[in-house]
């Protein structure tokens, strides 16, 4: 039986095949079409990104504008609701829909920059750890294991409480606590590739180390890193909302999903929509990213595509 050739996306092959950008786009597009859940995830995710970027244009109200006469209006589909505020208003009469749209900015900013910083630092440290090896590797992995064996949530709460409420601090907390995940996956991949023999072969024909990293190791890493980054970003969005819920994320004046939950919780038994509806936004985003992540994992992991004999 013929071996299935490396993989579908071209992200994992040892020598990335010379495919034009257009061809690759068409190829990835076809993969999306084959598994519709990935497509659904992508569309949902793009909707969130769209609302974050164009918030001022699509939000019906200023998210900070209070209107005490319209306070605690229930959503439009309930008896007392009105289409002036499709998702209702909160305790101060602020429009929930507008706040959700603006809130996506906080979540996506935290998720995107958190993962970006964590991923680039983790990638660098992981490459060093896996490539240099020896003592450096031991020290780095010691640190990684230490951080991974801490109760994550407790420490995030602890640090956030100490450092105070600002967007930058929240991003940095998530970025730094998430580095170990990326270090571990990068290092694992470097070790795997180093042992697989073709790096040795490249070295033996006189390839430069830097060339090996850029030509052989990095292309192999892109797939797994994108997958992990998707899941980590969704996790960060959850944790940010959780911190906000505990009153430890961005300042209370900023419309964020977590802050909305925190406010709504106080009115839960009487005006439940103030808390429950913003939660739906979190679920929506989480669902989008997990569908996308699952799809990426299936496409990228060649083991799942292997033909069983």
């Amino acid at each position: 039986m013929p071996e299935t050739s490396a993989d579908a996306t071209g992200l994992l092959v040892d020598e990335t095949p010379d495919r034009t950008f257009r061809q690759s786009l068409v190829y990835v597009g076809r993969l999306f079409w084959r598994d519709k859940t990935g497509l659904v995830g992508l569309i949902m995710f793009l909707m969130v990104v769209f609302s974050a970027i164009f918030a001022p244009w699509i939000a019906p109200y200023d998210p900070l504008q209070q209107d005490l006469r319209a306070a605690k209006t229930p959503p439009a589909w309930t008896e007392k609701g009105s289409f002036d505020h499709p998702l209702g208003t909160d305790n101060l009469g602020r429009d929930i829909l507008s706040r959700i749209i603006y809130g996506s900015r906080v979540s996506l900013t935290v998720g995107f920059f958190g993962v970006l910083i964590a991923c680039s630092l983790g990638l660098t440290i992981g490459l060093i750890s896996g490539y240099v090896g020896g003592r450096t590797d031991n020290i780095i992995m010691g640190g990684v294991n230490l951080i991974l064996s801490l109760p994550y949530l407790v420490f995030v709460v602890f640090i956030a409480a100490i450092l105070g409420r600002s967007l930058l601090i929240v991003i940095l907390i998530f970025a730094f606590t998430d580095i170990p995940i990326f270090v571990r996956i990068t290092r694992g991949e470097v070790l795997r590739i180093r042992e697989s023999g073709f790096v040795e072969a490249a070295l033996s024909i006189g390839a430069k180390r830097r060339r090996i990293i850029f030509r052989h190791i990095l292309p192999n890493l892109i797939g797994p890193l994108i997958t992990i980054a998707t899941f980590e970003m969704s996790a960060m969005i959850f944790y940010e909302a959780g911190l906000g819920f505990l009153g430890l994320s961005v300042p209370p004046s900023v419309p964020s999903w977590g802050n909305m939950l925190a406010v709504g919780r106080k009115y839960l038994t009487i005006y439940p929509w103030i808390a429950t509806i913003p939660g739906l936004a979190i679920v929506f985003t989480g669902l989008a990213m997990n569908l996308l992540g699952d799809w990426l994992r299936d496409v990228i992991d060649p083991r799942l595509r292997r033909v069983k004999k």
Partner: protein, 315 residues
Amino acid sequence: MQRYILSRLIQSLLILLGVLLIVFFMLQLTGDPVSLMVSRNASPEQVQRVREEMGFNRPMMVQFADFMTGAVVGDFGMSLRHRQPAMKLILERLPATVELATVALLMAMVIGIPLGLLGGSNPGGFWDTLCRLAGLIGQTIPNFWLALILIVFFSVGLGWFPTFGRETCTVFGIHLPTRSVILPAFALCLFTTGQLVRFTRAAVLEIKNEDYVRTAYSKGIGDRQIYTRHILRNAAIPLISIIGVQFGYLLSGSIYIETIFSWPGIGNLLAEAIGNRDFALVQAIAFFASLTVVILNLLTDIAYGLADPRIRYGD
């Protein structure tokens, strides 16, 4: 096996040392820990008094040595607010948290493992679809939101469960959980359930294709015995690690749940302490939580070693 346990033990001790360092220096992150603990409009005299009272005026190394020796004998300092040893406050709250996390873990295991087994045994079938759904739900619904929804529906709407608080009934001096634990535990177990489903299903799918399962079939063993005796038993070994990790996660996750349900556990204590700027207590809780996780990991590793004959009878 002894060597295995010993190496795990040494590893755990090293990690604990690292934890102590992290927990201690975290408070120094802002430069002046005292400023965290007093209210913003405190007079300089008040600040100075707290500083001396808490010993923050001493050299850093002395403080650290003091912290370390305290930690070894189980003294994590005094709570500023409660004027009581932090350890005492933690231990008072411990049973409630353990009850919540244990019930949640049991729920997750009872739902997750059989579901994963059913799904993995028939990929693409009804149970498998349910598995994928459970895995996805576990990862996409945050427990703090689910908790709110559960309260709205089952406590406020249907009135089946209390909205907050913990009630126990005492039988022969043992405190047993009552229905008050059901909603918080269910909200807490969701993510873990999803993880267990995913993991069990994946393990079954992988083990099904192992050579030794084929051997068992070649002996004429029926499907039921194949699953219970060969597949489940092999899947159980890595499951032990997952369950250990998840229990640690449940303990952490109780911060949200305990806050929402006013459950008198450690998570609630932590949220209170942060609200009161009682950072000595926060520090103690962080260390205690890490200690619990490290011990849990150690126990998990030992259980893993006992369950796997390749380690139990290894050198």
